[in-house]
């Protein structure tokens, strides 16, 4: 099911036997051709830009990947929740926004740290723990109060509830942060280092140093622990897991906690790297992160990470390269990717296609 790209893709296509009814075969063929031509177009676009302005390319690619890491952290929450209860948790982006506001208040007002020194790092570390707990608690509360009661309801009901939750969190953010964007001091050192002509800011490096271990820890938790096993079992078959003695309610709550913690960490990293918070930032970033989750294959952890980094990269390239649509069209580019992915390959890059059995 998985696809490489570039040279291997052609081999995969040749080797793969289409199966199913004539209609399905035709559809598979269309999907394959569409996917190949679109990735070819993207590759040509990148190549032309790379030849034209190699330094600029590397520059925007790095800053794009930095955003991509934040998208990946948020996308994990979407993917975890979707994997286990098949709900698009619209409120997740706003949870990220609340976490960003929380971390700014925590570091600047409650801890009183406003520059990068020993105390600043102490505040950062403490805040990382606090904001992860904060995100987890809020997410679990949302699940407990709203989604759990709607677990057996028709799909439309929890989805609309999630939209409502998103508005509610937006309101809290509006009251907490104020209606205008706010500027905050950051405690991460802001210098630059140079590799040849390419400038890399220290913030980017620190972001990856903090973010990647989180991703690895999450992956370990899901694949190697008993609780992770329970999560995977629950997502496969809820009734059967109950029969096997898994506490389904607790497992789902744990999943929400994990997703919330990741969103919390993403909020802190975003606040520290960008330095601004506003009450409506969750919506846009949440949608982009969700697009990443879908791109990578929803329900697949590494898919979310790959999707997030890819979307960040594409967005960065689009915003910064000479031959591109530019920042004004950033949003449209991301959503066009979303629509194209859903049309041609709904299972995503790393996801498995699920056929509905009757």
């Amino acid at each position: 099911m998985n696809e490489g790209n570039g040279v291997t893709l052609a081999k995969v296509v040749e080797a793969k036997k289409f199966s199913g009814t004539p209609g399905q075969i035709r559809q598979q063929r269309v999907e394959r051709i569409g996917a190949i031509s679109i990735s070819a177009l993207a590759a040509v676009w990148m190549l032309v830009n790379l030849i034209k302005a190699p330094e600029q390319f590397a520059q925007v690619a790095i800053s794009g990947l930095r955003n991509g890491l934040i998208y990946a952290l948020i996308a994990l929450g979407y993917t975890l929740v979707y994997g286990i209860i098949e709900l698009i948790n619209f409120a997740h982006g706003d949870l990220f926004m609340l976490s960003a506001v929380f971390s700014s208040f925590f570091i600047t007002y409650w801890m009183g740290a406003d520059q990068s020194n020993g105390y600043g790092w102490f505040a950062f570390g403490l805040c990382l723990i606090a904001v992860m707990v904060f995100g987890a608690v809020i997410n679990v509360l949302i699940e407990r109060l709203a989604y759990r009661r709607l677990r057996h309801a028709p799909r439309l009901a929890p989805l609309i509830t999630a939209v409502g939750m998103s508005f509610l969190l937006n309101f809290i953010g509006l009251k907490w942060n104020g209606s205008t964007p706010r500027q905050w001091p950051t405690v991460i050192p802001s210098g630059d280092i140079y590799i040849g002509e390419i400038r890399i800011s220290m913030i980017t490096i620190w972001l990856f140093l903090v973010g990647f271990p989180l991703l690895l820890a999450l992956n370990y938790l899901v694949t190697n622990t008993k609780q992770g096993k329970a999560m995977r079992a629950t997502s496969q078959d809820r009734d059967a897991s109950t029969l096997m003695g898994i506490n389904v309610n607790k497992t789902i709550a744990f999943t929400f906690a994990l997703g919330g913690a990741m969103a919390g960490a993403a909020g802190l990293l975003y606040q520290q790297s960008i330095g601004t918070t506003s009450y409506n930032l969750g919506f846009q970033l949440g949608l982009i992160a969700f697009t990443s989750a879908v791109l990578g294959g929803i329900g697949n952890l590494w898919g979310a990470v790959v999707g997030g980094l890819l979307i960040g990269l594409i967005q960065g390239l689009n915003d910064g390269l000479p031959i591109a649509f530019g920042q004004a069209w950033s949003q449209s580019v991301v959503f066009t990717i979303l629509i194209i992915i859903l049309v041609f390959k709904p299972a995503g890059l790393l996801g498995k296609a699920v056929t509905e059995k009757v």
């Binding site: 709203a146 509610l168 969190l169 509006l174 949003q331 009757v358």
Partner: protein
């Protein structure tokens, strides 16, 4: 025998509402056109009406009703969640902006327009622009629906959401869309032709007479909604909403039926867009944001998905609260208690709570549709044991 009696039943129940609707509409029109401006009226009433329910608010509510009825066909009848309905509103609005103003100043086309023939720009008659806007929206509805309708419901919601984000951004950045100015960007298109009704032209401030126009449009939407629901297509929509798989087994063509719901819903969005452009006398890009889509969805959910009268009620309540009620209440509250609470900022809380609480406790809405009510509470019937579920069905 049985067939004719059913047919009679259908026509009778379909006609009965027209009388009540006309009377209500007529009373509203008389009140706002003649009674309120009448000088013999006590001053207090005039002030109170203008504070709580000014004529512009009534007209705006009616525009929302038109669009909520359109969304109801997609969400309520066919059960497809559409989170990007604002796109159709935007397209309809820009149709009015393109075809009924001086925006394309280098052209000079006048087709039964309500301005002098020598005026620059495209000036097509309002009633034709209504149809034009509707059909263009329906085309876009089919365009977005055709490749995506085979997706599962929540993926579909996302695609519509993406569409609802892209279209407004196209208009927002439209000042330089591959070298063409298609929307005047953030400045918007100011000034739309008045509505010609034969004897006079209705400008932006003829609220009373325009109320009649909007009432007529709403009546058309109600009529279409009710007729469609009773007909073959409507029953196919309901079947899809309740069980897609079973419907397809029974021979309902899924794609065609879903596409039809998208097209009809989008058509209504176009009507609403054109009507709103004449209401505010212009088209402004920053108005078309995601909140509007959710706002319309909240109207449908609050009123009662699938029930035309419920949706009208929901649309009236929410658009009134959002447009006028909350600020008026805030003023009253602040004067009374000497506080300075900013009530307008509570809209997020209000809509969030409406959506959540309705879904948790009254999923079927204020004026529920009986079929949908049963469907939405299926889970409770499943969960509890047979004796209690029987009691519930009996109730």
């Amino acid at each position: 025998m049985a067939k004719t009696s059913v047919a009679n039943n259908v026509t009778r129940s379909n006609r009965k509402w027209i009388i009540g609707y006309s009377i209500t509409g007529f009373i509203l029109f008389i009140t706002y056109q003649f009674l309120i401006p009448w000088e013999g009226l006590p001053l207090g009433i005039y002030d109170a009406v203008y504070r709580w329910m000014p004529p512009s608010a009534i007209n705006e509510s009616l525009v929302y009703v038109i669009m909520a009825l359109g969304l109801n066909i997609v969400v309520g009848y066919a059960g497809l969640l559409d989170l990007g309905y604002v796109a159709f509103w935007a397209i309809g609005g820009y149709c009015a902006g393109w075809f009924m103003s001086e925006f394309f100043y280098f052209l000079n086309i006048n087709f039964f327009g309500s301005v002098p023939a020598e005026a620059p720009g495209i000036h097509i008659n309002f009633w034709m622009v209504l149809l034009l806007g509707g059909f263009i929206c329906a085309f876009f509805g089919v365009l977005i629906g055709a490749p995506t309708l085979r997706l599962k419901s929540d993926y579909l919601a996302l695609v519509t959401l993406g569409f609802g984000e892209i279209i407004p951004q196209v208009f927002f950045n439209g000042e330089n869309f591959f070298g063409f100015n298609i929307s005047n960007g953030t400045k918007g298109i100011v000034g739309v032709d008045p509505i010609p009704v034969g004897v006079k032209d209705l400008g932006p401030f003829d609220f009373g007479w325009k109320l009649l126009i909007f009432l007529l449009l709403t009546a058309i939407m109600v009529f279409v909604s009710l007729r469609l629901r009773k007909g073959r297509l409507g029953r196919a929509w309901l079947a899809i909403r309740e069980d897609e798989l079973a419907a397809s087994m029974m021979g309902v063509p899924l794609m065609r039926t879903k596409l039809a719901s998208y097209a009809v819903g989008a058509f209504a969005g176009g009507l609403g867009g054109v009507a709103f452009a004449t209401h505010v006398n212009g088209v402004y890009a920053e108005r078309f944001n995601f909140t509007i889509s959710i706002f319309l969805l909240a109207m449908v959910v609050l009123g009662g998905m699938g029930n035309v009268w419920g949706v009208i009620l929901g649309a009236f309540i929410l658009s009134w609260v959002n447009g006028n009620g909350l600020t008026a209440f805030g003023q009253l509250y602040n004067e009374q208690f000497g506080t300075e609470v900013d009530f307008a900022s509570f809209t997020f809380l209000l809509f969030g709570l409406v959506l959540i609480l309705m879904m948790l406790f009254k999923r079927e809405g204020l004026l529920p549709e009986s079929r949908l009510k049963l469907m939405l509470h299926e889970d409770e019937l499943d969960d509890e044991d047979a004796s209690t579920s029987k009691k519930k069905v009996g109730k």
